[in-house]
């Protein structure tokens, strides 16, 4: 295995908060127009009053709510606005939103907090301070009215942007008192008492999304759609073998093609063609002779990687994980044992909008317009690449055409666009990746295998379980300092003992979990649901195998192990009940069940399938239950659950990035298949809110999709399925 590098490429770490200047700017009204930064600048002299930092109220009663998390389809823009509006008690029909830039955030000492949008934190990570932001704005508006009428604030009530004084019958609107309110001191946000969520009138309701209209008529401008005066377009190719280098290219054949302006080196591994349109740039790039140094990984293939990972299943060592009781002896002395090895491959994120970034650089200012999950990480990468201080840079975030983790911490595409733009000072450069480039240069969901062994006593009770996970570490690639003494707990996500985030929902009398790091040369990163995806399959499909060996029903077998985990159990029971577990199924219909936890929320699913004698799998129905504590917009939560089903099924059935000659083999949708309408089951979402914590929504439910479906198919065909994707097991999906 000497071709596989075991240490990751060192990626420069975000050093965002170090030495940043903190210029306060009072009364800045933000208006971001992604198409025209000069216009955005002009709007900063707008006299529209800011009421606290989260709300702007216009004279016509329009309430503008500031949103700093990115919108990539997950609905956070609408959900956050609902939370602010709830406390503000404004007229929901007059809500709009705007987004400060990270440069503006920095100028105000990061008043708006963290802008990163990942880990299902968009709502749960900001709900407290945005609700307080809405509440203080309401207090200021009420105070302004009280001052005008010379009455105590305690005599005033608010509803739908109207302030009323019952004793005198006087009424005014938020818009009318906004200018006076803006001049008042902002109350202490921490002192505000927030509403009991059970009394919510706007939050917690399935209001329509705020951002649908322009998605129905082609008017929404994604990053890929940007047009700017004098703009040129770039098509790039990075060395197809990870770890390789760009040696040279011969531009003589393509530089005379129509529209081509130049062929440039982007960095040590990447070349770009710059032209007046992207199609011309891409067309020229396709014809460009390029010489690569493919480096030490040019012979690596998936079989070698599988061997490398398999070795980690049994290698002796001191590993991250849980050691409770003596699982090895308990299993060795058990009346009956069950063992299995499961595996899952690399996966790409494949958002529908290919990676893109538009950059403009001069020696005095650098800007990017970019679909990013983390505007501040984009700003840091921009400044670093541009060679300019942070305050001379800014980032304009476009709505994202999907992301799923790809457009977050790793800002490789921003660096590329800026490196090109530096070679064309003053000219905006729109860089777009082809789908093939996107498939070839992702930060993939890591490859792994898992060896599990369980012991049963003579009554079929589980007495111990050992689990050895082996595979690539995300931290090793993106955050090496999180690995302590060679131990990486992150890959064991979902098996953790500590409550709150991704706790295992079972109590085993004896338990050993271990993770052996086995890295490869393939870049890896977080992919929607991250490690709960494959870990959910490993645990939940294996538990079904053990239940079967014990001669027990998969639900009752789980319930017996979950008595110390009431929230996990509550959600499992909800899925079982709504999914008709235990009731007779139609002839030929088989059910599977699974539960797991990730991103601070509890999830469970029941799947119903038929499998024909020819191995044609038809997934009829999925019932998914989830408890994220609070649900700000149930209809949008259900959309995330449905989305998790689709992404989870694509991965379960088809998803596989194969390594061949050091590079990824599947380069487009012809070989990297996606779930389509015909394969879509009926999805029923069951919400189980307990109002005592805030969990995530975007990611938690995806991890129960694959195990529930695999367990149903296994029940139908009478044998376990242990290797993803299932297409390699001779099954077809209809």
């Amino acid at each position: 295995m000497n071709q596989i590098q075991t240490s990751p490429v060192q990626i420069s770490r975000r050093s965002f908060m170090v030495g940043t200047s903190a210029m306060a700017s009072g009364g800045l009204a933000l208006g971001l127009n992604i198409l025209s930064p000069s216009e955005a600048l002009a709007q900063s002299s707008d006299a529209t009053p800011e009421i606290g930092i989260w709300v702007v109220v216009k004279p016509d009663d329009t309430c503008v709510v500031r949103i700093v998390r990115s919108e990539m389809g997950q609905g956070t823009r609408t959900g956050l606005a609902q939370l602010v509006a709830e406390e503000l008690e404004c007229d929901w029909s007059k809500i709009t939103t705007e987004s400060p830039t990270p440069g503006q955030n920095l100028k105000r000492k990061r008043a708006w907090g963290d802008m990163s949008t990942g880990g299902s934190r968009g709502i749960r990570g900001s709900q407290d301070y945005v609700r307080r932001g809405g509440a203080v704005a309401r207090i200021m508006l009420v105070q302004a009215a009280a001052n005008e009428w010379n009455v105590p604030t305690s005599e005033l009530t608010t509803a739908n942007s109207v302030i009323s004084h019952a004793a005198s019958g006087r009424k005014t609107s938020y818009g009318k008192v906004a200018a006076a309110a803006a001049k008042l001191p902002v109350p202490d946000m921490k002192a505000v008492v927030l509403k009991d969520p059970r009394t919510w009138k706007i939050a917690g309701k399935s209001v329509k999304r705020l951002d649908t209209a322009n998605k129905l008529n082609g008017k929404l401008i994604y990053g890929i759609d940007l047009k700017m005066d004098g703009m040129l377009c770039a098509s790039v190719m990075d060395c197809p073998v990870f770890g390789g280098k760009l040696i040279s290219f011969d531009d003589s054949k393509v530089k005379t093609l129509r529209g081509v302006k130049a062929v440039v080196r982007v960095d040590a591994t990447t070349v770009a063609v710059v032209a007046d349109t992207w199609w011309r740039a891409k067309n020229a790039l396709d014809q460009l002779p390029i010489v690569w140094d493919e480096g030490p990984n040019a012979k690596v293939n998936s079989a070698m990687i599988a061997d490398h990972v398999r070795e980690g299943l049994t290698a002796r060592g001191d590993y991250a994980g849980r050691k409770e009781g003596d699982a090895i002896n308990a299993v060795a002395n058990a009346a009956k044992t069950v063992e299995a090895v499961y595996s899952s491959p690399f996966l790409s994120h494949t958002p529908m909008e290919p990676m893109n970034c538009t950059a403009r650089w001069t020696s005095d200012k650098a800007e990017v317009w970019v679909p990013t999950q983390n505007a501040e990480a984009s700003l840091a990468k921009l400044a670093e690449t541009a060679g300019l201080p942070l305050e001379k840079c800014d980032v304009y975030v476009t709505d994202l055409g999907g992301a799923f983790g790809r457009k977050g911490g790793q800002q490789d595409y921003v660096a590329q666009a800026v490196n090109i733009a530096k070679q064309f000072p003053g000219t905006p450069i729109k860089m777009i990746w082809s789908r093939e480039e996107d498939q070839s240069h992702d930060f993939y969901r890591p490859v792994s295998q898992c060896y599990m062994k369980a012991g049963l006593d003579d009554k079929g009770n589980l007495v111990g379980l050992t689990l050895r996970l082996s595979g690539q570490s995300i931290n090793a690639w993106v955050n090496p300092s999180a690995i302590k003494d060679g131990k990486d707990e992150r890959q064991l996500q979902g098996f953790w003992s500590q409550p709150g985030e991704a706790q295992l929902g079972y109590t085993f009398p004896n338990l050993l979990t271990e993770y052996a790091i086995r890295n490869t040369h393939v870049p890896v990163g977080p992919w929607r649901g991250v490690n709960t995806n494959q870990n959910g399959v490993y645990m939940e499909c294996f538990i079904d195998e053990v239940a079967r060996a014990a001669g027990k029903d998969p639900l009752t077998f789980r319930q017996a192990l979950m008595q110390n985990h009431p929230k996990h159990l509550q959600v499992l029971n909800a899925a079982a009940e709504k999914g008709d577990w235990g009731k007779p199924a139609a002839p030929g219909v088989f059910r599977g069940i699974a539960q797991f936890m990730g991103y601070g929320a509890y999830s469970a699913a029941v799947a119903e399938v038929t499998v024909s004698p020819k191995g044609e799998v038809k997934l009829l129905r999925m019932v998914l239950a989830t408890n994220a504590g609070h649900f700000v917009n149930p209809h949008q939560v259900a959309a995330q659950v449905e989305g998790g089903v689709v992404m989870g099924l694509s991965a379960t059935y088809f998803g596989e990035c194969t390594v061949e000659n050091g590079r990824i083999k599947e380069k487009n949708f012809d070989t990297y298949q996606m779930l389509k309408m015909a394969q879509m089951p009926k999805v029923e979402t069951v919400l189980v809110p307990t109002y005592d914590f805030w969990g995530g929504v975007g990611e938690p439910t995806i991890c129960v999709v694959a195990p529930a479906v695999i367990n149903a198919i296994s029940a139908a065909i009478g044998k376990p399925l242990r290797d993803l994707p299932l297409k390699n097991s001779g099954l077809k999906f209809v």
Partner: protein
């Protein structure tokens, strides 16, 4: 130089004959509502109508479309008034929205051929990829547009389809 009839307007196109219709629309004419997703006619994000038929515009040369009537998402209706766009809004179909231009164009074409499509008809006609996973809502919106389904509404008028809340 050739001419194209796009959204009822005939215009001169100065581009290489092999430039795909998608890129003629996006980069020469300037209509960016039609999206690039794969470039090999697999995902359907670039779906437009050519003489009423759905066509994946990334894989046909613009020059071959002379004399034919091209409709893009921008030309589907004034102010999103097409019944399919209205149904999409009522069901709140889009997540990221990137594929939805193509999905809507494919659905409009289906409903022209089959005004009351069955689920099977929808399965066969709607082969565009949505990575966010809006298929269930697309199916529902097609039925709503066809008039074969009315959305269940809760007391407060919210869309309640397929979401159940357990009181604990």
């Amino acid at each position: 130089m050739y001419s194209l009839n796009v959204n009822g307007k005939v215009q001169k196109v100065d581009a290489e004959s092999e430039m795909p219709l998608l890129w003629v629309l996006r980069e020469v004419i300037g209509l960016t509502g039609t999206k690039f997703g794969c470039g090999i006619a697999q995902c359907g994000s670039c779906t437009v109508h050519v003489d009423g038929q759905p066509v994946r515009s990334c894989s046909v040369p613009g020059s071959a479309m002379t004399g034919r009537k091209i409709i893009t998402i921008e030309g589907l209706s004034d102010s999103s008034s097409h019944p399919v766009q209205k149904a999409w809004a009522e069901v709140d179909v889009p997540q990221c929205g990137y594929c939805q231009s193509g999905q809507i164009m494919a659905a409009v074409s289906l409903l022209k051929r089959k005004p009351k499509p069955t689920n099977k008809d929808i399965d066969l006609a709607m082969t565009n990829i949505c990575r966010c996973g809006t298929y269930q809502r697309i199916r529902e919106a097609i039925h709503v547009a066809a008039g074969t389904k009315k959305l269940p509404k809760s007391d407060s008028g919210e869309v309640a389809a397929l979401v159940q809340q357990i009181k604990v």
